[in-house]
Amino acid sequence: MDDKIIEIRNVYKAYGDKPVVKNISLSIRRGEFVTLLGPSGCGKTTTLRMIAGFEQPTSGAILFNGEDITALPPHKRNINTVFQKYALFPHLNVFGNIAFGLKMKTVPVGEPVTDKRGNRVQKMRHLTKQEIADKVNAALRMVDLEDYGHRAVNSLSGGQQQRVAIARALVNEPQVLLLDEPLGALDLKMRKDMQLELMQMHKQLGITFVYVTHDQEEALTMSDTIVVMKDGEIQQIGNPTKVYDEPANAFVADFIGESNILSGTMVKDCCVEISGHRFECVDKGFKYNEPIDVIVRPEDIRIVPADADNCLVEAEVLSCVFKGDHYQVTALTYGDERNEIIIHDNVEVSVGDVIGIYIKPFDFHIMHKSRLINELDGEIWEENVVYMCEGKFPCVSALPEGTKVHVKVDFDDVELTDDEEDGVIGATVISSIYKGSYWQYIVRTDTYYDFFVDNDYEWSIGDRVGIRIAPDKIIIEEGEHEEA
């Protein structure tokens, strides 16, 4: 199974000085259906465009069948693309669009001959009109548009245009088909149908599909392999089951499917403590008392009577909504620190009921926290003021002016303000994950430093906020931070 058709090696891409894809490496096997999945701006489309040849990586290499194609222009690559908005040529009819690529294609004629200089020369010819017509008609048949050859492309519905776009790409018999959010513009019903059709085509043709989407459900349905991306970095590569059941980190868990993400500590191997309760799990090898993220899928939580033997923790029902094949229950756990959790079960409960919760040890997914504390470098501006991220933060320090310092701030010590002006510096919310009793945000400053913030209030991704830190909460250490 080591038949790699595409290999992306340490590819880095920046527009100006803004990195979009950060050193990703990925290999795609022949015949595989690979989906690049991530929120908008995660670099998935840029990655696809680099495979197609529309963008050049700033550094790194892209290999196709073992050959370096990094600098090869798109028209010399045996790869075709289905574009997001189809990009069907408006001056050509359906037939003309599908025949576009075939008219430029050349095929060898006869055996290669040796010319006067001793070089082996293969004579090539263009396809005949009849050959083109046959291929186009076969492609139209494949996408169920047999009688549409003469139609103008803008007289077709979105779904039909989509099919023409797919036929136009596939008629060239590419080794790899790239699809850039091809179903984004279709309505739900149409999308479901096209998903199945695309999967069927993939099976029949046996060519490699590289599919870009931000729709996790689409990715889970169609792919052999899912590559989850965020901020230009690959978060996880795996088959749909693995990505769903064993997300590599809190971001993947949050992005794919619904999940309860809670903070906890590993007391010892196979024992995790969350808000004062200890649970049995199957994870080993964490440092004792290491703070970790615990992820539990809503469908892995069972509702049991509060007095049952297997009840791990009691909780009070906040809401219960029927979802067709299950009830979605929100419940607040009992204890010193109360966490809100979401449960999918087929038991109906009423608001205010006290229920018991049971989770199999196997269903606790424990992962390292991506960061424990905000750490950054700054400089003492004057007494009791530290300069970092182009902002002057009041602090408690008697160090002399101009001293380079290393600053640490706890997640819950960073205050966010609605009005950017109220903070010392402004920042944009780029990620938000609910952790049962609070939100964990990542806010990006204008100097591209990401602050992790634990906060009780709700902001949306993209919101501008101000950042403020209480002077006594800024931990200042002399000397610059050594990159580990």
Partner: protein, 265 residues
């Protein structure tokens, strides 16, 4: 009986222009039409038509010359203008100033422009003649070619170009098979905006050839001048001009309709 009172509706805003149109477009056209059928003694006659179409006064020859010069001007404008517009569209972000540079000459009155061109040619000791007239025409009408082309080329979605590349087209093929056909409407309107004024122009040829080259516009102008005073033939020539403009517009309309339609080629 109901009283019909004037009601100030939105339609009323159109009246001033309607009146203007009637007085200064429709009425003059009617006068020209009548003039064409009148002789010096204001009697009905076909003699004016006979004179023009028999080429007695050389009117037909002048028309032929005008059409040729108009055509040559248009072709030169297209050949210079297309690459220009293409480059301007390609480097769109930085091209705003450049586009302005191409429009800038249009802000100067064309008579002043043409007279200064003549002065420059005289200073450089260039012999005034066909060459200088063509230069003046191209110089004058180039912006009218570049602007519609630029507008069309800028609006071509870049994804069409990428799609063509993706399907195996090299740069030349991308241009010939996508950019060029997608810019047809721009070419058609650029050609119209250059050709029609170019055939009816006067003054440019007169000034830049020291009245040696005589175009259709000049000829009409002459017929209506006080010295010749042959309004009848002048009117016939005006009507011929009008027919030419109408024919040109019909052709343009037909081509732009074809553009919306689709071919398999």
């Amino acid at each position: 009986m109901k009283k019909h009172r004037f009601r100030f509706s939105r339609k009323a805003f159109a009246y001033p222009y309607m009146i203007f149109l009637l007085l200064f477009v429709v009425v003059p056209l009617v006068i020209i039409l009548i003039n064409a059928f009148l002789d010096d003694a204001n009697k009905f006659t076909f003699a004016n038509f006979a004179e023009f179409f028999s080429d007695a006064g050389g009117g037909l020859t002048v028309l032929g010359n005008s059409l040729i010069i108009g055509l040559v001007t248009t072709v030169i404008c297209l050949v210079i203008g297309y690459p220009c517009a293409y480059l301007l569209a390609k480097y769109h972000a930085s091209s705003k100033v450049l586009v302005l540079l191409f429009i800038l000459p249009m802000w100067v009155n064309f008579l002043i422009r043409t007279l200064s061109t003549k002065a420059i040619f005289m200073a450089l000791d260039v012999k005034l003649g066909m060459g200088t007239v063509l230069f003046g025409m191209v110089y004058n009408y180039l912006p009218y070619m570049i602007l519609p082309l630029h507008t069309t080329l800028v609006s071509i979605d870049h994804s069409y170009i990428e799609a063509a590349e993706d399907l195996g087209a090299d740069r030349m093929t991308v241009f010939l098979r996508t950019v060029l056909p997608l810019s047809t409407s721009g070419i058609v309107s650029g050609v119209t905006m250059t050709f029609i004024p170019a055939i009816s122009t006067f003054a440019i040829s007169e000034i830049l050839s020291s009245s040696k080259i005589f175009l259709f516009g000049d000829a009409i102008n002459m017929h209506f001048s006080k010295t010749t005073n042959s309004f009848g033939v002048g009117s016939v020539m005006s009507l011929v001009m009008l027919v030419l403009v109408i024919v040109a517009n019909v052709i343009v309309n037909l081509t732009s309709k074809d553009d919306e339609g689709v071919s398999a080629l």
